[in-house]
Amino acid sequence: MREIDSNEIRKAVRDMAIAAAHDLEPDILEALLAARDRETGELAWNILDLLLTNADIASRERIPVCQDTGTGILFLELGQEVHIQGDLNEALQEGVRLGYEEGYLRKSVCDPLTRKNTGTNTPAVVHLEIVPGDHLTIRFLPKGCGSENMSSLAMLPPAAGTEGVVRHVIDRVLAAGSNPCPPMIVGVGLGGSFEKAALLAKKALLRPVGEKSARQDVAVLEERLLREINAKGQGVHGFGGITTALAVHMEIFPCHIASLPVAINIQCHAHRHKEIVL
């Protein structure tokens, strides 16, 4: 049994919240850079260039990349040989609260009915998985809502087949227009159950940008979706060009013989994420 102090967890989450808001990871920076260098539209090229400059300013001057510093989404993989001293959930929430307060981040969480802001950006959404081993991996994905609001879940009939899935994903992505700040990353969760599909779609966003699925047929589908989405020409911020999406990531899971759940979780170019292993 390995002991991890909840104070250590709290501090790690606080630091991740602040770092995520200001310092984009190499995967998204490289994807934006590659997109800029490929781009043919003049306005689109210049906006991609500006987004790289924006990331640079954010990191150097400690101004958040985007003012929507998001809802905190935490993915935990907890080794079954780990024992946590103290209250895990409290440590996570307190870490988020401290990060948003001390990092000058925007508090965007409110009661869904009264719309009253909780004032702390908590509660964060926590997903916990128990895995073998004696480590705790924490991933922090602050999610802005311009893109989150364009996400969707559909229970397609199995007869829709692969073509039905492709059409559905493309329709949803195009309907989002410039609302989610394209270029976007499209997370697709295919199969499982109602809630599993949604979780898969979000988890798909945790993959390094542009990394293909390990399953060959899924990788082919990802590539086709990306190609077809970009061929529609909505482009960066809806101003035309060849970069509506930077990547399509699809996660799949077996589903019921009568079911074909498809969830789409859209992520914007301000793809902020951090990871730590304790």
């Binding site: 400059t53 924006n54 300013i57 000058y104 035309g240 914007c268």
Partner: protein, 197 residues
């Protein structure tokens, strides 16, 4: 990261337009045009709109005269000590669609956010001679530097959703809906279709 350039010259050489717009400037704006805004504007998003429209509903006076002004949909992140403001890029505009025609009827001349507007808003813009612009979504750190002054005007209790008056300099924006009724997002889609046709 050494790959990044420090200053994009493209955005330094845009046609300059003063805020609030003069009637001539407003008329001259064309869908698809990139402009550099300097002057004063007001801010507001979901809660500001809800509160403004509630005041109108009750027949009360608004805390600010919106006639001829530009309303920017933004909820900035808090300013660090010594700074004017935090990140301050646009939020998605359609969430304001149900409130916008009322404000346009009062004489609001322009709105700015990101994403397309509803048919009702486009119609109201035509009826009242107003325009809609898009700011660069997700460029909050860059845009923060274009805001030279920020003053709280109303609804402090709404936190980041309060109504502020900004003084901006060289703030880049794209004209989406102009006075002639053109819509830049629709023009892009139509041009693409024609190219395929």
């Amino acid at each position: 990261m050494s790959l990044l350039r420090s200053e994009p010259a493209f955005f330094d050489n845009l046609p300059e337009v003063r805020l609030p717009f003069s009637p001539e400037a407003l008329t001259s704006l064309e869908a698809g045009q990139l402009v550099s805004l300097s002057g004063t504007l007001y801010t507001g998003r979901d809660q500001t709109h809800r509160r403004l429209c509630a005041l109108l509903e009750d027949g009360k006076e608004l805390p600010v005269d919106l006639v001829g002004q530009l309303l920017y949909y933004v909820g900035p992140s808090p300013a660090r000590p010594g700074r004017v403001i935090g990140a301050a890029g646009p939020t998605t505009s359609y969430r304001m669609d149900s409130y916008t025609p009322r404000l346009l009827a009062l004489g609001l001349a322009a709105t700015m956010g990101k994403g397309a507007r509803s048919a009702e808003v486009r119609q109201a813009m035509l009826a009242h001679g107003a325009v809609y612009l898009a700011a660069i979504g997700g460029a909050g750190a860059f845009l923060s530097r274009c805001i030279k002054k920020s003053e709280l005007v109303a609804f402090a209790e709404a936190g980041p959703e309060a109504l502020f008056r900004f003084e901006v300099e060289n703030f880049p924006a794209v004209v989406i809906n102009d006075l002639a009724g053109r819509d830049y997002y629709a023009l892009v889609a139509a041009a693409k279709k024609k190219g395929e046709g």
